[in-house]
Symmetry: C2
Subunit: 214 residues, 2 copies
Amino acid sequence: MSSSENRTSYHHGNLANALEEAGIGLARAGGPDAVALREAARRAGVSATAAYRHFAGQQDLLERVKQRALAMLADQMRAALVKVPQVGEPGDIAIARLYAACWAYLGFARDEPGCFATAFRRTKAEAPPDDGGMVGDDAFRLLGSLVDALVDTGRMAEEDRPGADLATWAAVHGVAVLLLDGPLRHLPAAAQNAAAERTLDTIVNGLTRRGRAV
Amino acid sequence: MSSSENRTSYHHGNLANALEEAGIGLARAGGPDAVALREAARRAGVSATAAYRHFAGQQDLLERVKQRALAMLADQMRAALVKVPQVGEPGDIAIARLYAACWAYLGFARDEPGCFATAFRRTKAEAPPDDGGMVGDDAFRLLGSLVDALVDTGRMAEEDRPGADLATWAAVHGVAVLLLDGPLRHLPAAAQNAAAERTLDTIVNGLTRRGRAV
DNA sequence: TCCGCAATGTTGACGGCGTTAACTCGCGGC
DNA sequence: GCCGCGAGTTAACGCCGTCAACATTGCGGA
């Protein structure tokens, strides 16, 4: 299927990609600790040090795999969005879309824990801050646009908009982490779903109300 | 100061503790990836394999260090709580205490990023689920008691109580992670503080309001 | 008192990892 | 035709986790 095997010539031709692909496989199976340069090279049918022609080192490979995992997460969210029926009040649709994206986020964390952990692993080799402060997290921008829709449809006050995307992201990411390997990791699935739903309700509740506490 | 040096006899006497102490130092400086069995043993003035008399392996040591880091986090929160003035309305005090604990949480993540990352690193050797589902996270219980105070003082409806502790924890943990190595990691400190404050406001806002969204 | 044994610490070795240095292959341009 | 340079190779170093076999100690029972 992929380009990771049956090499005939001395040169591989697509090694950087094959290594990243292998890295994704390793991350999927064993989390970020499992993405090893040597093993990735082995799977690509190439000697260990060949990777250094395409990556600065193991941390660099890990960073690329991390970016791919983040992209997978964003894809899952987008895929869930297109399934949301566009019927009813615009405000209701906007809220349904926000919920769908959050559930997709949690589903990705549950179904692909290795990739999820890799997506949020701290890396020593940083990606350049491409847009002045925020690094290129597609999922974050996506969430922001969904929050924008809350404002556009009148479900959220405009003066509450700043920082609302961060609050949403923080809540859903926090609950994902806590369910995955936090204090709730041993709860039955039903209880986990209930806890997650409660958290989403709380944050949306907080967002869609005018004014501030305290 | 500690018991990690000047050993005179063949036996160390307090090796398990010394290794954990060394592990904390490693985690502090380099995060969970830096807590290596050999290096910890070296710092304790002992041969590498001596550690196996007290730990099942490196993952076991890491698990202990993780538990210690979690305890440090809880200590920071408790320390912040005793400084909250107990004047004014009980409801206001309860909210001030919740905020203080959350800020302590974020402060710990900022000031001790290595320990913070270690506290939430997934470990292969699990601690036994001691109280039936929830593992012994002191900080989580502490947060729960602070939310209880919201109910007791009438700031939160009793029917909204279930899951409210999780929502709070998720939000504050999420914002900590996102500030530390998420999309906001390069923001200036003032902007980070503002973002954190906005998130805390949102979650408390959502908690202290009756009813649900949608 | 002394002796044996279990707890504790040691040395040595193995395989895997990341990384560097020095070498080789072969395609594309002159 | 050759030659330069990108792409891949082998060899080696030091670090890590871990196992097996051995050494030392101190403590409790005869």
